[in-house]
């Protein structure tokens, strides 16, 4: 039996928790790297597949999709961001969409942010449709579960272009097309860079991204398969999640240094975790980049700077500047061209040799 007084204290405690969470969830740490988003003239996305010549002819056309013709200059365009703009990738992605919309003179750009809540992303998309959005660019939070939003868009004949993550649905019917990187390929390239940095032998720890995220799964698969195929001398001794966050990456690395002191290399599935790992290594008296090799994916400005300083060994880019390519794809679509199901962009790779020169193109 709970005494009233105790239960009151308890209730007050959870009220504090509830209020704090409500109030603070909006004010999470914001990444303030200088000019996050980078110089938009540099580091533009380049389509890798299909090549420009192959892109024409086939694919999803205006008539196949059944959308009404539209001049983007007179159109209301909606952009649904998936996660808080608290990391450089999301900051650069949103900024790039906004910049490009302003550049080509879209009548109105609606932007929403789902704050990592799937239910919010669904209502965000429905809200934008209710506000008259005629073309939607969506960065899906999850591959599954956006069906109600896609159906609502299809019912209004509003094309949906997904960027950076793919949805499990039928292209040209449930959504128009997908623009993004090949995450398995990024993992593979990270493995190649790791083999080069370590000379093909060593004990590697992997800092995984968030559990249940397709990006995590793909970047792990690409890396693990490539290492197994190309470098039998590399042993993967630990795989732990750092949830794509710098503080988690640091925490996991601190524990790994204690439990597996013989680790010679770290593969971080994003830059933030890599930077956390670098901090942990330095605190433990090890030289990151030398005693322990570090390879990561994303290409944020802070990571490329660390690379130039010799604290990282390689960074595989995952280019977030979807604005120009997204609107170019929309323009092509409304000009009657066919849009392929997957438009895969070419990501660059940074290493010690090009880090300083590439700093301007990092985000």
């Amino acid at each position: 039996m709970t005494l009233p007084k105790r239960s009151r204290a308890l209730s007050v405690a959870c009220l504090v928790v509830a209020t704090a969470a409500l109030a603070l969830s909006g004010c999470a740490k914001s990444e303030t790297s200088d000019q996050a988003g980078g110089d938009s003239s540099q580091g533009a996305q380049v389509v890798q597949t299909p090549t420009a010549s192959a892109a024409t002819g086939s694919g999803c056309s205006l008539t196949a999709y059944g959308a009404p013709k539209l001049d983007l200059k007179n159109a209301v365009v909606g952009f649904s961001q998936s996660e808080k703009e608290a990391n450089p990738f999301r900051i650069a992605e949103t900024q790039s969409i906004k910049d490009e919309a302003a550049k080509i003179g879209v009548k109105k750009l609606l932007t929403t942010n789902a704050q990592s809540q799937l239910s919010k992303q669904i209502s965000d998309i429905q809200d934008m449709l209710a506000q008259g959005a005629q073309f939607l660019i969506v960065a899906p939070l999850n591959s599954d579960g956006l069906e109600p939003a896609l159906q609502a868009a299809a019912a209004k004949k509003v094309p949906v272009l997904t960027i950076d993550r793919k949805v499990n649905a039928t292209a040209c019917k449930d959504y128009l097309a997908f623009l993004g990187s090949d995450f398995v390929e990024q993992g593979k390239r990270a493995a190649d860079a790791m083999i080069k940095a370590t000379g093909g032998t060593g004990k590697v720890a992997i800092l995984l991204g968030s559990s249940g995220n397709s990006v995590t799964t793909d970047r792990t698969k690409g890396f693990v398969d490539q290492v197994a195929a190309q470098a039998p001398g590399i042993e993967i001794v630990a795989q732990q999640t750092g949830e794509f966050a710098r503080d988690k990456g640091q925490q996991v690395m601190e524990q790994l240094i204690q439990s597996k002191p013989d680790i010679t290399a770290v593969y971080a599935e994003n830059d933030e975790m890599a930077l956390g790992a670098v901090t942990a290594l330095k605190a433990a008296g090890k030289a990151p980049g030398k005693d322990v090799k570090v390879v990561s994916i994303d290409g944020t400005r802070n990571a490329v700077q660390a690379l130039a300083n010799g604290e990282l060994n390689a960074v595989i880019e995952s280019n977030p500047r979807f604005g120009p390519l997204a609107f170019a794809t929309a323009q092509k679509f409304y000009a009657g061209e066919g849009i392929p199901e997957d438009v895969i962009i070419a990501d660059r790779a940074y290493d010690a040799s090009n880090a300083k020169a590439s700093l301007g193109g990092a985000y």
Partner: protein
Amino acid sequence: MNPTSSLTAPGTGTTPSAPTGSGPAADRGRADVSGRERLAALVQRQGVLAVLLLVVVIASFVYPTFATLDNARGVTVQASFLAVVALGMTLVIITGGIDLSVGSVFALGGVLAAWASQWGILPALLVPLVACGTIGLINGLLIARAGMAPFIVTLASLLGARGLLLALTDEGATTYLVPKGSAFAELGQGSIGGFGYPILVALVLFAVGGVVLQRTSFGQTLFAVGGSSDAATLMGLPVARAKVTVYLLSGLLAGLAGAVNAARLSSGVTIIGAGMELDAIAAVVIGGTLLVGGAGSVSGTLWGVLLLAVIQNLINQIGTLNSSYQSVVSGGFLILVVVAQRYLSRSRSTV
């Protein structure tokens, strides 16, 4: 809470509109404050509805795309899942407890429903209900029989249910899909006059919940338990049974909401439900239910849920506001309500 009022008028808690059984001592001095007290009770019960209506009316004039049928459909379907979860939370909070596990249980219910949907609509509903009901039952038994603090018990099951979900889905890598066009998918995606079945489910549950709470002895027992658990025991009310039942119901409702949500999303998405318990608590408190227990209503919770949903919708309508402000506005409302509650309950405790 004032134990005397619970003893003399069990079930009505601090509601002053039921003077039957009040002792003569309580009657003295009641006349002077009854007007103010009645106003306080009215604000407590219907204040959120007034705020909701005000916000809706203003928004309808300011934003031409707000008061459209399309928008109403979208907002209400989305709100119906939180509403069902918050219904269970209302019952728990009225008894003076708290259920932090509902977000995880909601997600677990969704995954189990999507997994079981391959065998038809019945397993798709039964499997999550049994599993989530069991979690609720365990919560209830530990709290009522073993006398453990609800906060800790349900925090443990929050973690446990999330862990179970990750284990079932291979750390979230597997997403079970609901067969397209199945009766179960229809439950989440079908609609009457454009208003989805989930809304209907929520409305029916709220109607039943309202009747149970206000018109049955079980409902009255919940108020008595929340008013003063000790006094309710002394009166011979089945306190432990009532407590076990509310946690069981909370688990069942969260599981059901998760299942219907999975039907709507066509898949057992693993990343949902995190933080949902806090939204539910916020909606319940905004709806005028006292966090210390003993007073509250399910209708208030419904308005609270709708208010939160409308705020989210309005932030999108405004467009220029960063969506983080949604949390700021919701948090602001919560503080306002708590301050108002504190003031109102003080004015009443002078009786």
